[in-house]
């Protein structure tokens, strides 16, 4: 198995989590910080193996929680669940269609905060929730829909560069075989 694309996705997830904390542009413009991890998870679960899905879910979730006031590990399970559901039905999903990518991104972007909030409320935490949270949820879902096709565009090219190239058809043709010796 070629681990380079998986490592690259993890590196991108690491930088993405840092940027979510460091860069305030989306928060200033839209009132909500967009999460890149659901979009990355959609790509990983449709492209890579289960190991990559688990690694991204665990590492991405832990990195996110470490920079946040979230209890450590609360983002892992929703992220993992999104990845597993898509991984399980990846043969039914039209991976190459932009529309399908957008829909999956929107669903993942909407499901991730819902799952995390569900866990937070069950853990007895009191996150900041109100009518404005509805707008933030819409922004997160739309952000997932926009980022997912971009992820596919970027990582598919990278996969092409780093992955094993498909073997070209051999020049040998059985119908042109020269038979030597006596019959």
């Amino acid at each position: 198995m070629n681990w380079l694309p998986t490592l690259f996705i993890l590196a991108v997830a690491f930088v993405a989590v840092f940027l979510e904390g460091w860069c305030d542009l989306f928060r200033h413009w839209l009132g909500a910080q967009i999460d890149f991890l659901p979009a990355l998870m959609v790509y990983t679960s449709l492209t890579d193996g289960l190991a990559a899905v688990i690694l991204l879910g665990v590492c991405g979730g832990l990195w996110f929680d470490a920079l946040s006031l979230n209890p450590l590990g609360v983002s892992v399970l929703p992220l993992l669940l999104i990845g597993l559901v898509i991984y399980h039905s990846r043969e039914l999903l039209l991976r190459r269609h932009t529309f399908a990518q957008v829909v999956l991104g929107v669903v993942a972007g909407a499901a991730q905060p819902l799952g995390t909030l569900f866990l937070l409320l069950n853990l007895g935490c009191a996150p900041l929730l109100g009518w404005f949270s509805l707008w933030q949820w819409i922004v997160l879902a739309a952000g997932g829909g926009v980022i997912t096709p971009l992820c596919f565009g970027l990582f598919d090219r990278l996969h092409g560069a780093l992955d094993y190239q498909p073997a070209k058809p051999a020049a040998f043709r059985p119908d042109r075989e020269i038979k030597r010796g006596r019959q």
Binding site: F14, V15, V17, F18, E20, G21, W22, D24, R27, H28, G31, A32, Q33, D35, L50, I54, G57, V58, G61, L62, W63, F64, D65, A66, L67, S68, L69, N70, P71, L72, G73, V74, V76, L77, L80, L84, H88, P113, T116, L117, L119, L120, L123, A126, P127, L128, L129, G130, W131, F132, S133, Q136, L140
Partner: protein, 268 residues
């Protein structure tokens, strides 16, 4: 399709994640600091980039403008020196009177300047990371402020970084007092407005409150985390709650939390 070994791995991961959620707060706090330590190189990089940008901006500012600013700062400095002389005599008088009254002595604030290096990536919390840590003398619950007013308190302390919980977060409650009439209440998060609006709620004012819009709200000092007298904001409007049992006021924060670059931390 998933194989049997895949299912086993998944169950192990899910059980570990659930176990992580059940760990004591102190342990997860340490784990969080260790994991967020991985981001140190990126924080360092962002700090260097920030400094470079500052230097570039300075290079672009005309010399005449810089000289004008230096002159202005020199005057301000002299004014502050004179105020400090007056302050010292008032401070001595206050200490003498407190001694005569048998009240405990007040100590001066020991503050340290820190730079904001990151904010909470989650939309349902209000916190930020600053570049001061245990090696700078920070401890949990240190008050964080700017010249304009209160920002929050230190939630967790690493060696070189700390996480600050900011006004407007549901986990931060501050006892506050309205300056003009002495009514007290509790500052809590306002869930209906975005962070950029800079609004929070002042709850549990009396049912027949005499508080009016425009009045200043400062820390009361009850609880021992925040010293009294730090500005919080100004009253915007009021509304009765629980059939007039108590009054809730909306407060416009004195500090623009969305544009914070540097903060002062009060070190004990």
């Amino acid at each position: 399709m998933l194989k049997k070994s895949h299912y086993i791995i998944l169950v192990v991961v899910v059980v570990l994640a659930l176990a992580l959620l059940k760990l004591p707060v102190e342990t997860t706090g340490k784990l969080k600091l260790a994991i967020s330590g991985l981001f140190l190189p990126l924080f360092g990089l962002s700090g260097s980039a920030h400094e470079l940008l500052g230097e570039a901006r300075q290079g672009l500012t005309p010399k005449r403008e810089l000289e004008r600013q230096i002159e202005q700062l020199r005057r301000q400095n002299q004014e502050q020196q004179i105020l400090l002389i007056q302050d010292a005599s008032v401070w001595a008088e206050n200490a003498r009177l407190r001694g005569l009254a048998g009240w405990p002595r007040q100590s001066r604030w020991n503050v340290k300047l820190g730079r904001v290096i990151g904010r909470d990536p989650a939309n349902w919390w209000r916190s930020m990371q600053i570049d001061l840590g245990a090696r700078d003398g920070l401890r949990t619950n240190c008050a964080v402020l700017t010249a304009a007013g209160l920002v929050g308190r230190v939630q967790s302390v690493g060696q070189t970084r700390s996480q600050v919980i900011v006004l407007g977060d549901p986990n931060l409650r501050v006892s506050a007092i309205v300056l003009t009439n002495g009514e007290t209440g509790v500052i809590v998060a306002s869930s209906s407005t975005p962070e950029e609006d800079g609004m929070i709620d002042l709850d549990y004012l009396s049912g027949n409150s005499a508080v009016r819009p425009g009045q200043s709200v400062v820390t009361w000092g009850a609880g021992g985390v925040f010293p009294p007298g730090i500005p919080i904001g100004k009253i915007v409007d009021l509304r009765p709650k629980e059939y007039g049992l108590w009054t809730e006021a909306r407060v416009k924060l004195a500090v623009n939390l969305g544009a914070l670059e540097e903060v002062w931390v009060m070190i004990p």
